[in-house]
């Protein structure tokens, strides 16, 4: 694997930071804007992933359903759930060029959540398996959030 330049690594990190900033500020339009228009998102338990079981917690395998996920959170579920604040912490583990300005990156994540009552706990941990396209704005062509937390500690409203 050839060494990627600091400039490219910074651009990849900026894409990840924009993604988690959108989620931590509950900016679902910003979340959607992190993807290419042929992008996809999947959030799946590591247990299923390891056993080739395809059921996910969120499976947006086309851009139209990425758009629909914004609708779920902002319109369908609005006012029905106990809201919570997330804080995503990430660490890039590897990055690899795939050609055509596309990069495959693996990133560990650790997400804390604080509900309205104020006690903070771990929501989920795991890793992202992503493909990022570097253009004027770095965007996710695909993002897969694999959750080590096979039994999540509560229902999940926002994407991971």
């Amino acid at each position: 694997m050839s060494q990627l330049s600091n400039e490219i690594l910074l651009a990849l990190d900026n894409a990840q930071n924009s993604y988690i900033h959108a989620l931590d500020t509950k900016n679902m339009d910003g979340w959607l804007a992190s993807f290419t228009t042929d992008g996809s998102y999947i959030c799946i338990a590591a247990e299923n992933e390891a056993n080739n079981l395809p059921i996910a917690l969120m499976l947006d395998d086309c851009y139209a359903r990425l758009q629909d996920r914004v609708t779920y959170v902002t319109k369908v579920w609005a006012g029905t759930f106990e809201d919570y604040q997330t804080r995503h912490f990430t660490q890039r583990i590897s990055a690899e060029a795939m050609g055509n300005d596309t990069y495959k990156i693996i990133t560990n994540y650790h997400i804390l959540f604080t509900p309205e009552q104020g006690q903070t706990n771990v929501l989920v941990t795991g890793h992202y398996d992503d493909e990022i396209v570097l253009g004027d704005t770095p965007l996710f062509k695909s993002k897969k959030a694999v959750m080590d937390t096979n039994v999540s500690p509560r229902y999940i409203v926002y994407p991971v």
């Binding site: 959030c43 338990a45 247990e47 299923n48 056993n51 079981l53 395809p54 059921i55 996910a56 917690l57 969120m58 499976l59 947006d60 395998d61 086309c62 139209a64 359903r65 758009q67 629909d68 609708t71 779920y72 319109k75 369908v76 579920w77 609005a78 029905t80 759930f81 106990e82 096979n150 039994v151 999540s152 500690p153 509560r154 229902y155 999940i156 409203v157």
Partner: protein
């Protein structure tokens, strides 16, 4: 099938059949009685479907109440059920939640069991007690039975045969399992809810069009159907399938397509006492294995399945629909999950929970209901009350 005659002084039950005392949802003494009388008593508990264990050596672990269970397909193809504990000193035998094994070895003293549960060897057995008998020291078994591939276990020898135990709810189960139960596992969604197990399973038909905004946005009306209950606490829903009409607010309505062929009874729910819910909505086949994690938490494993005869397109459709519609992140069920926690907090206030929708009588129990009646849960509560031996107040 009536609950056995018992008496417990722990709780005095309200006189009206549509009132439930709130303190039973958080009292530790009540929870301990529930474990003994219900989870370890004469009830059948679904623990797996054969579609989860297709190959020789496939195994799964789960709990009944707080007791760990091991389910294994042996080298003769037969599925056997065990308590997940070494027959020697009780060490948890298998720690993985699922997998494939050729044998099970307890690491503590290296006792080795085959996948039929028989003890194959134990180091140093020439120095064991006079009554030691290898043939009698297999992994401890738990009684089991099967209906359309759904594997039940019971901790009691007094539990009636499964056929009569399930009774009328077998019809809803058959609808859910495409009539023959030939299912294949697609995967799980697992979650730990902050709720007492009874409040988790007390979900009703009344709330659906009111809580879930998706039903209104989709102009999704339920088809004609029925809700019925049995004397031993099971509930069945069977209804005509109606597909949503108003999918305009979605950019990708394919999520809401129905690709199955049978729609006269296209939706079904079988809720078996005490805690399992099995559903078929649209093209989603879902078994919700559940067990309490103490008095205030309930762990739920949403298992999703396809049918063995499905083609690739149908399987892909089921995966997409199942992953996005139900469970703790589902379009039409995330709100249920949020209500569980709020109910648990609210139930710490004094007094009784009251049922209203569909309550025709306050002094006796009946068994047939409209599909959106919350009163359909009352026969289950009556069976629960009798099973725990709680007497009613005088009217």
């Amino acid at each position: 099938m009536n609950a056995p005659e018992k008496y417990s002084p722990l709780v005095t039950w309200p006189a009206k059949v549509n009132e439930i005392p709130k303190d039973i949802f958080f009292r530790e003494d009540v929870y301990q009685l529930e474990l003994e009388n219900i989870f370890y008593g004469p009830e059948w508990h679904p623990v797996a479907h054969t579609g989860e264990l297709p190959d020789i050596g496939d195994f799964k672990t789960i709990n009944v109440g707080e007791r760990p269970i091991l389910i294994v397909r042996g080298d003769d193809g037969e599925i056997r059920t065990f308590y997940n504990a070494c027959s020697h000193r009780g060490n948890l035998l298998e720690t993985r939640v699922s997998g494939n094994a050729v044998e099970f070895e307890c690491p503590y003293h290296r006792w080795l069991f085959d996948i039929r549960g028989d003890l194959r060897g134990a180091p140093g057995d020439d120095d064991f007690s006079p009554s030691y008998c290898k043939e009698e020291l297999g992994v401890p078994t738990i009684r089991s039975a099967e209906y359309l591939g759904l594997i039940f276990v019971t901790c009691s020898d007094e539990t009636p045969d499964l056929d009569s135990y399930l009774g009328r709810v077998k019809s809803a189960l058959a609808t859910t399992f495409n009539g023959d139960g030939r299912l294949r596992l697609l995967g799980y969604q697992k979650v730990l809810y902050d709720v007492n197990w009874k409040a988790y399973v007390d979900n009703d038909g009344y709330h659906a069009p009111l809580l879930h905004a998706a039903f209104k946005l989709l102009d999704w009306q339920g088809g004609k159907g029925e809700q019925y209950a049995t004397e031993n606490g099971h509930i069945g829903f069977e209804s005509e399938l109606k597909v949503p009409k108003g999918t305009d607010f979605l950019n990708d309505p394919c999520l809401l397509e129905f690709k199955g062929t049978e729609s006269s009874k296209g939706s079904a729910i079988a809720s078996t006492f005490p805690i399992t819910v099995i559903t078929k909505h649209m093209d989603m086949i879902n078994i919700r294995f559940a067990f309490p994690r103490g008095v205030g938490k309930t762990e739920v494993h949403y298992g999703y399945y396809c049918h063995e005869d499905d083609d690739d397109e149908m399987i892909k459709h089921r995966i997409r629909q199942s992953s996005n519609m139900l469970g703790p992140t589902g379009l039409v069920s995330m709100e249920d999950a949020s209500i569980f926690h709020r109910i648990h907090l609210g139930n710490h206030t004094p007094g009784n929970v009251t049922f209203q929708k569909g309550v025709k009588h306050e002094d006796r129990i009946w068994y047939d209901f409209k599909q959106n009646d919350e009163a359909g849960n009352l026969p289950r509560w009556e069976y629960y009350r009798k099973t725990l031996g709680f007497n009613r107040e005088e009217a």
